[in-house]
Assembly symmetry: C2
Homo-oligomer: 339 residues x 2
């Protein structure tokens, strides 16, 4: 079987305890013993049994991350923000993916709790009874990243979903658009709800009637953007701009528009959301909402780490600012001079 502390102890003549200490870099050992032991361990191919260590210590040096949709580069960028800081603080990142299934979210939460991770960062669904119960009772520090959960306050690192989508819509309206197609994101996540409300509110405030035909519900994937536009075009819906739940959807939308010989932005303007790294390389490059993904991850882990260090620390929501980025999928000038 594998090499144990005992084996190293026998080989070096020290006690198990001393070996354990040496391997953990205890300063109170003589430099000599430490080196002897470490070298022997290395030579024998010792690997710590972290289950045993964990059992004794009661908590691990791992941060669990539960992400929502691995196919969206958005999360990869957020995770990058988490990784570096976590690593510097001596923590390891464990990644689990729900693909937005609440059952998995609940299951994975239990997994992480069961693994005694030091803390958990979650990209959660908005409403699920089981999950919410867990969030209300769990004692491991946790934060929601980029989303919030119904009925749970103080645990979210957010960006301004509502306001950003409001601003996007308003900017489109300012340019003369009145028939703005909105491609909605996946059900049951807070971003979808908040962004849709931002769109709706902007319409309302400008006295533009809500048209249910112009609101298309999707799963927020690139092919959904593509399909939505084709669907709208097939129904001969009239619209002069498209606001999208995210950049992925916008890419699909632009593709469909192009294939149907609409020029973007000259015939139809398209606005994304997220500002994925790739979006600047699209053709045309995407106008979008810059969500500070790296910062989101970084602040999330920093905050979480603070809570891990001090369990008494009160929880609080944090809201990050976004900004609109105007690139080539929208125009600089007025779109419609008059109706």
């Amino acid at each position: 079987m594998s090499v144990l502390l005992k084996d190293i102890a026998e080989k070096t003549g020290f006690s198990i305890n001393t070996v354990s200490r040496a391997l953990r870099g205890d300063k109170k050992l003589s430099e000599n013993t430490r080196r002897t032991i470490c070298e022997t361990a290395e030579m024998m191919g010792y690997v710590r049994n972290s289950a045993a260590a964990l059992m004794r210590k009661g908590t691990s040096n791992e941060i669990g991350i539960i992400s929502g949709d691995s196919s969206n580069p958005f999360f990869a960028e957020v995770v990058r923000g988490i990784e570096e800081t976590a690593k510097q603080a001596g923590y390891r990142i464990l990644l689990l993916n729900t693909d937005e299934f609440p059952e998995r979210e609940a299951d994975y939460m239990k997994t992480f709790v069961s693994m005694k991770v030091a803390g958990i960062l979650i990209v959660p669904v908005f409403h699920d009874d089981v999950c919410q119960k867990i969030y209300r009772t769990i004692s491991v520090p946790y934060y929601f990243v980029g989303r919030h959960v119904e009925g749970i306050t103080g645990h979210s690192i957010l960006h301004s979903d509502f306001q950003s989508q409001y601003d996007v819509t308003q900017s489109l309206i300012n340019k003369g658009h009145r028939r703005i197609l909105y491609i909605v994101g996946p059900e049951n996540i807070s971003n979808t709800i908040d962004r849709l409300n931002g769109y709706l509110k902007a319409l309302d405030n400008n006295g533009i009637p809500r048209d249910p035909d112009l609101i298309i519900r999707t799963n927020g994937h690139i092919e959904d953007g593509f399909a939505s536009i084709n669907w709208a075009l097939n129904r001969s819906l009239s619209f002069t701009a498209v606001a999208c739940f995210n950049d992925l959807v916008a890419m699909g939308a632009i593709k469909a528009l192009s294939e149907n010989n609409y020029r973007v932005p000259d015939d139809i303007e398209v606005f994304g959301f997220d500002n994925l790294y790739i979006s600047q390389f699209m053709q045309p490059s995407l106008s979008t909402v810059d969500v500070p993904k790296f910062a989101l991850g970084k602040i999330a882990i920093e905050t979480l780490l603070r809570h891990i260090g001090n369990p008494q620390l009160p929880y609080d929501d944090i809201n990050l600012n976004t900004r609109l980025i105007f690139r080539k999928s929208t125009n600089d000038r007025l779109f419609l001079k008059e109706e």
Copy 2:
């Protein structure tokens, strides 16, 4: 503190042992006891301490995945292929990211070994002494996904890197191209080496001299494709086609070409590699090599699972076929009639 088996035992009046069995679904318990215990556990919010369980059992129900570059959607697609099968077999996926740093690869390997995962799937660097030593001595089942490692045989699930890049190059040559820019991928990974060799070999076999100027080394990211083209254009290099290490690079390349008023494919043809899901939505849509990413993941986990089930099973390399996909970043007809 947290609820333990002991607590449930006290509450229900059964022994710790019976509780443990009930919670694990042991068939030999009376249905009644099982239900009572499970319900009580649920009510008390019991979560198994997996460290303790693991310590006793010696092996976990987790598969460790060490991926190379989280910013490349390629891996997300491979992981999707792994996830479902793993889940069905009752295993959980743990994801760790090296960003191609060999030290991290070695570190993470040890982590997984230390965690007593059931098996490991790795997207490895090609050469690193420490890593290779680990691969030669480790007793946990493992496979390399989509890459191979110097000196380690029988542990790779591969796709035909060399041949595919050869074919791409040949197809370009067939159309009359003789000055084909090749944008090379990140150092020290087998894909880069194999694909570059495929390109070179095709040149050789067609009597086209290798021109070092036409070979640009990069990290294989989208911005590298962009920068490479700009660099080549600034140096007034002449070329009529670009073969890229991957689709990401190709996207960046196309962007740079367009910005410099070259039409793709009419002025310059561009070929990618990987066939990312997103590539069909690019404008122009990317001609590329279809790497069966989902299958790669699926076969990798299936094979690994087989080895987990039977440690005696001999290891063997597996090679998957790719196919060239011709879309709109290349032309159907001859590119250059004559010189």
